[in-house]
């Protein structure tokens, strides 16, 4: 680890480090994983680290928490590049990548204002499709496509 990162985000003894998050999507990742709602675990994050691949990246560290695959894959929408380091006793014991799921339930809002999901209390549902190399969502109800640019995470 480089010196500057050590200073900005302190090391954790046990838990998960989520690295390589595009800086502009840091808060989306936090809200998708519900990190702004948890009261027990220590959560630290840092953003605007220089990254060759992403330009600016963010890092989140969550103490004493290990995510299930299904939770991790939810962040594929906003941070498909993210890498997870599983930490035990200050050591990285496992590295995991985000896998883009084929279906997304809840989490995102359909961009079509005339969609039934924006007019009644309905849990949104999308098929994940590829649009010009980017992840996009095809609404299972109105069949319209919501692309990255219009992606809105439901709070």
């Amino acid at each position: 680890m480089k010196e500057d990162k050590k200073l900005s985000v302190s090391a954790i003894q046990n838990g998960t480090v989520i690295d390589h998050i595009p800086a502009q999507n840091l808060f989306n990742v936090i809200s998708i994983l519900g990190l702004d709602q948890i009261t027990e675990n220590l959560v630290t994050f840092g953003t605007n680290f220089k990254s060759d691949r992403l330009g600016r990246k963010a890092i989140i560290k969550v103490s004493d928490k290990y995510f299930k695959d299904i939770e991790i894959n939810k962040i594929a929408l906003v941070a498909p590049t993210a890498k997870l380091n599983i930490i035990k006793d200050f050591e990285v014991v496992e590295k995991r990548e985000v896998i883009v799921p084929s279906e997304i339930v809840g989490i995102a809002r359909c961009m079509n204002p005339k969609c039934i999901t924006n007019n009644e209390h309905i849990v949104t549902k999308f098929k994940v499709i590829d649009k010009n190399g980017n992840v996009a969502l095809k609404c299972s109800y109105c069949e319209k496509i919501t692309d990255q640019q219009h992606l809105q995470i439901i709070r």
Binding site: K114, C115, E120, C142
Partner: protein, 302 residues
């Protein structure tokens, strides 16, 4: 198909289309059959569409079934603020099948998840209207004797027209060639052209009507609506360009048939109506046979 809702045209396979058309032809030969006796079909029209509703109700009546429902949401509990879910759950108790039309997109898919009886989508906003597509297929097969290898010209609003989009998807199983004729503002969207490219289906794009219909088997006309244009001047420029006149049909193929989902405004001149190539009114009649077939298959009666 039995007990399965029909929400989107791709809920059905090629084999399903062929089966529906076979049963529709049976109903055309023998339209009055009492197979729906004792059954109740609910027609829930959250927005008015007289033509579609009458077609469904005629189909039910000819099969000896009963119809309940409403013709627009102002006369129903919806106007009191009832949720779609509650309306659908309630009506599920009173009927064997729900036919619904709703201004919001995706409403029919949602209703089909909530309902305890099958749901037929009779139009959900600009999204899907699968029974229209199946009656178009029936009309094409009936007039051409086949669905295979046809040249189909589509004219007018190809950007927003849900009927042309559904027809492209459905016809893609039958090796068609498409001719898209539309103003630049209303061109066929990229995603449909990509779909055709992927399936290896040929298509041409033009802005001129008369000179691009000469070797077509089907001429599918749609309305060019003023409200689709951001700039009213653009509408004024093209509004009279996509009007079919009888004279334009000189030199077209003898088997050419003109289809239109109706209602038309002015995009087909009335002088075309008496031409034997005009088929939009018989097309509407085919809608009754096709809907008889769809309901009979879903209720497991055919």
């Amino acid at each position: 198909m039995k007990n399965k809702s029909l929400v989107s045209i791709d809920d059905y396979s090629k084999e399903d289309y062929i089966e529906i058309l076979r049963v529709a032809a049976e109903f055309e030969k023998n339209p009055v059959q009492n197979i729906l006796e004792g059954r109740v079909v609910a027609t829930l029209f959250f927005e008015p569409s007289t033509r579609t509703r009458l077609s469904f109700e005629s189909a039910v009546n000819r099969l000896g079934g009963r119809v309940i429902g409403f013709t627009d949401s102002s006369s129903s509990s919806v106007s009191k603020g009832e949720s779609l879910k509650d309306t659908i759950l309630t009506v599920s108790n009173y009927s064997d099948l729900i036919v619904m039309r709703h201004p919001l997109e995706g409403s029919a898919r949602y209703a089909s998840e909530v309902a305890t009886v099958p749901v037929i989508n009779a139009g959900d906003g600009a999204n899907q209207h699968p029974t229209q597509c199946l009656l178009d297929l029936y009309s094409i097969q009936k007039t051409q004797g086949t669905l295979e290898n046809l040249k189909i010209s589509m004219v007018g609003d190809l950007k927003y027209g849900r009927t042309v989009h559904s027809l492209i998807m459905a016809m893609s199983y039958f090796n068609p060639t498409f001719i898209f004729i539309a103003p630049d503002e209303l061109k066929m969207p990229e995603e449909y052209k990509l779909f055709l490219d992927k399936k290896g289906i040929k298509y041409e794009e033009h802005t001129e009507l008369a000179e691009n219909i000469k070797d077509s088997d089907i001429l599918y006309m749609t309305r060019v609506q003023r409200e689709r244009f951001a700039d009213p001047l653009e509408y004024e420029k093209v509004k009279n360009v996509y009007i079919l006149k009888n004279k334009m049909l000189d030199g077209t193929k003898d088997n050419l048939k003109i289809l239109h989902p109706l209602p038309r405004v002015n995009e087909i001149n009335t002088d075309v109506d008496t031409n034997h190539k005009a088929y939009y009114f018989p097309q509407a009649l085919n809608g009754v046979f096709t809907r008889q077939a769809i309901m009979a298959k879903i209720l497991g009666l055919k």
